[in-house]
Amino acid sequence: MGPGLNFESLVARFYEPLYQFAFSLTRAEADACDLTQQTFYVWATKGHQLRDQTKVKTWLFTTLHRAFLESRRRQVRFPHFELEEVPLDLPTLSPATVNQLDSPQVLQALAQVDEVYQAPVALFYLEDCSYKEIADILNIPIGTVKSRMARGIAQLQSILTRGEREGHRERQND
């Protein structure tokens, strides 16, 4: 570990946002805990190699995301498609509608978003990282980050809007 970076204070500072990011990707407490622990384990063994200590946060999120991708790769290959072919949809979702939802409902909606967009969307809402940092975390160019975010956000809002409409219809039928 680099000088000035105490492991315990580092954990105290980042374990919550890392866990929240992991949970938004996995939707499983045990998997999110594993990813968070694994991230700090990698830090404990390799963190000393990081020369620029201002990049600790990016390093940790990058490590967690890599570990997630690695675990996913073992389970299933990502479906590949051209991002440019995905239509950009701009649904009309109101803040009031979102306020009536709870966190698991939103995460359930995120789970229905195309997998390649999920991490960018989670980082969009969870973290205050700059787009450059997000690009580093996801290991993709900034332009790709933005296009994936835009499409992912559109999908998420579309799913939430659809859920709201279906809920409204059900209430009417009752």
Partner: protein
């Protein structure tokens, strides 16, 4: 810039973050000041962002996670001098393997249990890097589990009672199979540079075709070490002592095995 172009840019704007000073948003933000319809849309976007962000931020972190992470780090920490020993051991092993491979007409690799036992004996006698210093057998078992080595073994009560555990090595393998190595101190004066004089190796019973099938120990010398080998369930155990004989090893074996 049209209103639609500004919306396309601003849909990625996160209020309350560094995006406020990001040049990528500057022009679109400025346009908001002059376009009432765009301004209204932008206000809705910021409110929607805040609402969704709050849902993500509500993800509850399990109690005790922080403490668990910190505790695990303590388990994994290896002092620098030990890392140096491990590195030196690894380099020596690579050199030895390379040397053996270069020898013409080298005998074929042995796969029998005697070869396994000899190898473990030589490992105990040679230089190995203790990966975890601990006098806590539970902590050692946890360490093996974390390293994906064998952790479902039974340490004989007599070994626990009559020797002091000092650490373990989790990364030992024999022909691709994991071997968990626990290091003990029998109470005899220790050799300089090596705090252990008694080692328990645990492998799967498939480690060799002729591995012991019974819980009664077999005693053999292996590279100058006194060894006792036995199998219980699907685990095969080799207990090696730097010096001693069957009677000495018997003090550390399960009751029913004691001669």
């Amino acid at each position: 810039m049209t209103n639609n172009q500004a919306k396309e840019i601003l849909q990625l704007y996160r209020p309350g973050t560094a995006d406020a000073v990001d040049p990528a948003f500057t022009d679109a933000l400025e346009l908001c000041e002059h376009e009432p319809e765009l301004k209204k849309w932008f206000g809705n976007h910021c409110a929607l962002y805040a609402a969704l962000r709050s849902k993500f931020k509500q993800i509850a972190v399990p109690e005790g996670l922080k403490e668990q992470i910190i505790a695990e780090r303590r388990v994994h920490t290896t002092p620098m001098w030990q890392k140096a020993v491990i590195l030196a051991g690894a380099v020596a092993a690579v050199v030895m393997v390379a040397f053996k491979l270069m020898q013409p007409g080298a005998p074929p690799e042995r796969h029998d249990f005697a070869a396994y036992r000899d190898y473990m004996g030589s490992m105990a006698a040679g230089s190995y890097g203790m990966e975890l210093n601990s006098t806590d057998l539970d902590q050692i078992r946890l360490f093996f589990a974390q390293k994906n080595s064998i952790a479902d073994y039974v340490v004989p009560d007599n070994l626990k009672a009559n020797a002091k555990v000092v650490g373990c090595v989790a990364t030992t393998t024999w022909q691709g199979k994991h071997v968990s190595m626990i290091c003990f101190q029998s109470g005899r004066p220790s050799r300089p540079g090596n705090p252990s004089d008694l080692w328990l190796f645990i492998s799967d019973r498939t480690v060799a075709k002729d591995a012991p099938v019974a819980s009664n120990p077999t005693f053999e010398k292996a590279n100058g070490m006194a060894t006792a080998s036995w199998t219980v369930g699907n685990r095969t155990y080799v207990l090696a002592a730097a010096e001693g004989d069957e009677q000495f090893l018997g003090k550390f074996l399960p009751e029913k095995m004691v001669l």
